[in-house]
């Protein structure tokens, strides 16, 4: 087939394309991811018993803010990386800010605490399971984000995969906040970030394999 004939074929009665495909696809993926993550949460973890009381404490909301801010940035980054020719722009500069914020809070809390309490503030009671639980809860989001990107057109595959993973990790951490009893900034700034990093690294490694088009 000559190129002229190909163009003829592609341009014959082209199906109209409504705008907003990138947003719709990522929104659908987040919705399905949330459903999957909620099922995993119900099956394996359950919501913390004292959720109502905990939600009256400022630290509960600070704890939510970290994954929420990271999620907002990662969604913006993933959406940009799903389009050819769009750079990350200010998203890249914004990414470290929530991390530095929680580390600053952790630093203040650790300095103010008695030396004997510091290890307990860092390790909490659940450091062994926290990163893996976050990674587990992020898995449906990761599958969704890859599905979304496979229907779009990322051109920097490792970076796009990493942002898909970051988005999944932040969303998984957000869901995990409803289960997790830990309330120390040092704990959140260590084990939550580690949990979010697991799907991000997985996405970085899987991107070049799964996102080609």
């Amino acid at each position: 087939m000559r190129t002229d004939q190909l163009i003829e074929m592609l341009a014959r009665e082209p199906e109209p394309v409504p705008p907003g495909a990138v947003r719709r696809r990522h929104a659908a993926a987040l919705g399905w991811g949330l459903a999957g993550s909620a099922v995993l949460m119900a099956l394996f973890l359950g919501v913390r018993d004292d959720l109502a009381e905990a939600s009256r404490l400022p630290m509960f909301w600070v704890k939510l803010a970290l994954p929420l801010l990271l999620l907002a940035l990662a969604v913006a980054g993933a959406a940009r990386l799903s389009r050819p020719g769009v750079a990350l722009g200010r998203v890249a500069a914004g990414m470290p800010l929530p991390v530095l914020g929680i580390w600053a809070l952790a630093g203040v809390a650790l300095v103010a605490a008695a030396p004997g309490e510091r290890v307990a503030m860092l390790m909490g009671e659940t450091w062994r399971s926290c990163p893996f639980n976050i990674a587990m809860l992020s898995a449906p989001f990761l599958a969704g984000a890859f599905w979304a990107m496979r229907g779009l057109a990322p051109t920097r595959l490792a970076l796009a995969g990493a942002f898909a993973g970051l988005m999944a990790g932040a969303a998984g951490a957000l869901v995990y906040c409803l289960h997790c009893p830990e309330m120390s900034p040092a704990f959140i700034g260590t084990w939550y970030l580690l949990g979010i990093a697991i799907p991000a690294v997985a996405g970085y490694l899987l991107g070049p394999r799964l996102l080609r088009w």
Binding site: T3, I7, L10, P84, W213
Partner: protein, 179 residues
Amino acid sequence: MSAQEDQLKDLLVRGLSGDGAAYHAFLKALSAFLRAFLRPRLARVPDEVEDLVQETLLAIHNQRHTYDAAQPLTAWAHAIARYKMIDFLRRRAGREALDDPLEDVEEFLGAEETEAHEARRDIATLLAKLPDRYRLPILHMKLEGLSVAETAKATGMSESAVKVGVHRGLKALAALVRN
């Protein structure tokens, strides 16, 4: 160059809303830019330039929903052309190192080459390999110019299956082209 950007963008935006004539003009103009972009960069494999032009046109068609009218058309088309070229070179992996600097978005609409050479790979042959649920809708609608209703009647498929068949069929065709 910015006049070309505006003109091409206008054609694509109209094409995205279903204007076949504008979309044809867009693909036609773009193919000339693609050829001029790829030929010097693939100087060692001149025979494969037209294959890659066709592959890129098919990719641009299949991913056209990722274009946002707020975005420069040049940056979008250049990123796809560059991605397809690198993907092509990776597939030929190891044979030759890529020694071309890739910071060339500025010159993307700088030259045109309208003369198409023969493609080595025949898309029509690949089309024939698709399963009927993809092949027949593409054949009737995109090559013979039948309507959705006529295609549905001729194939016994439902109208929505015909539309989905064209859409998924062109994606499946792009996947065959890459292999």
